[in-house]
Amino acid sequence: MNFLKRTVPMIIAFVMGVLMAFQYYVPHEASQNLLKVVTRWGMIISGFAMFIGAYSLFHMHWNRIKHKVSGWGYSIFMFFGAGIAIISGLYNGGELFWNDKQSGTMFDWIFDYVQVPAGATIFSILAFFMASAAYRTFRARNKEATILLISAIIVMLGRVPVGTMISQYIPIAADWIMTVPNLAAKRAILIGVSIGVIATSIKIIFGIEKAYLGGGD
């Protein structure tokens, strides 16, 4: 059992890791074909994984309803919403799902008038949270915080037309902040992250890091 759960996945990770790392340096058609095959496998796995995801979602909400867990009423709403979307998608405006997708169907209506505004509403909450977080936490407590605060104000004004109306130099200053100090800091983080990514990849390929297989070591 341990052989199947640990050794085999580690062998697969090693073989595929080394193969795909070297594939990047080999332009030959054989190498391109390997990439093609592997990407197709990946796409097939992604496709099937969607069923697993749907199963997990339905299973969890079904159990919530069955065991009357607090807030189980929301789970009924999940089934209601998913059911309507699936049925209207399969119904396809009367043409049924094996025909080409029809336009102006009920599915389109749900998408346009339920999903789109609901998604946009949640996204817009961000503006409210940002304003509240800025008011509560943005303080000129020390020298560094003051510099941060001034830069934030310049960038905020420079990113909207009103900045240009106040002074034509505000957008230029905002652009400078973004492309010079901001970018320098971002590059430093990126370099650190990239080295971390490479180190993690090598640890996984050589079977040094095994936590992703579950359990301890």
């Binding site: 790392a21 990047y24 340096y25 080999v26 332009p27 030959h28 058609e29 054989a30 990946g42 796995i45 992604s46 994984a49 969607m50 069923f51 697993i52 995801g53 749907a54 997990s56 979602l57 299973h59 969890m60 159990n63 607090s70 807030g71 929301y74 609901a118 998604g119 949640i122 996204f123 961000l126 949270f129 509240s132 977080a133 936490t137 800091a185 971002k186 983080i189 990126l190 370099i191 650190g192 992250v193 080295i195 971390g196 990514v197 490479i198 180190a199 993690t200 090598i202 640890k203 996984i204 050589f206 040094i208 890091e209 936590a211 992703y212 297989l213 579950g214 359990g215 301890g216 070591d217």
Partner: protein
Amino acid sequence: MHKTLSTFILSILILSYTPTAFAVEGNRLFVPKDFQAFDTPNDSGKSITLRWPSSPSESDDVEYVVYMSTTIKGPFETEALRIRSNTRYEEGSNYSYHLIDIEPDKLFNKKSSDKDVKTTYFFKLVMMSNLTTRTVKKIASATPEGNWFNWSRSNNFIIMIIFSVLILCCINHAKRVPGLFIRKIKGLDAIDDALGRATEMGKPALFVHGLNDMDSISTIAAINILGRIALRVAEYDTPLKVSNIYPIVLTVSQEVVKEAYLEAGRPDAYVEDNVFLAASEQFPYVVALSGIMTREKPAANFFVGYFYAESLILSETGAATGAIQIAATDAFTQLPFFITTCDYTLMGEELYAASAYLSREPLLLGSLRAQDIAKEIIISVIVFGALLATCGIDWISFIFKPG
């Protein structure tokens, strides 16, 4: 008078030597003196490169057309290329050469059964204007062949080998000399406190995966951290809820948590529904999690992985419920939001060091030493390169040129 006359003569001379003047001068076209075809280096074997020097007759109204054939005698009927004569110059040649890659197999619609047969292609370069057509005498030929190594990526390859060897050496060294120093990472030390608090309060801990799929290393790093957290949670007997947005991440997370419970000797405590797919899109995911945070009030929230615009909404909701919050992300744009709303934030590479830090395993700690050495090398190269570039010497940039 003398000045005006000399300016006049000079302008006539200059004008008569401009390409436009050449293009319209009578019906004459000055064809390139040379024409080469060769197998494109560092490719899969589908491409041939054509190269020829610029002609003084190049203009908007003049075209280059390349015809090809599989025999030297022709017929040259298949058009391989047609471009405006003053376009597609070789990079760095200062407009003195044209360089173009073509894929002849596609143009000839080679049958799949003939794919293994190497064919030599012959090319004829023709220059065309509205008034006249002239052909370059030389017929160029080449056979496309696949290459087993992309030499333009050799710098990248050498750096990869050096870095891999460095990591493996450091790991080997750490195996022999344990007790490597690692600086304190408060956020990781706080994990135990957060889980302890959840246990005391009898409330669950919530682990929120970021928005990247399994092909992202930040997600793999998150899975590694989840493995360590799950092991402790299983020992503490605290419910652990793990939310996912991608089905593959869900499957891996379920396996990791299940294994952790098994290892802790508590397989019965594992609840499959606690590792769940919250939603498959960004903001529905936020809504689902905000609902869970508000209703179930987890005592500890872990936000681990790569986050986008949802970070503030999630962490602000979590903060409002009074949970201890620990975030770990390499998404630098989201760091300010997490720092403002979470108790502890692991920044950038700390996310990748977390697994080693939590396990204290010498093998994993060894790789951190290698990361530090690699960083020292990069800093030295940046400083040295900046100094050289300031002095006008920029050859060092070629070492790092992407292939």
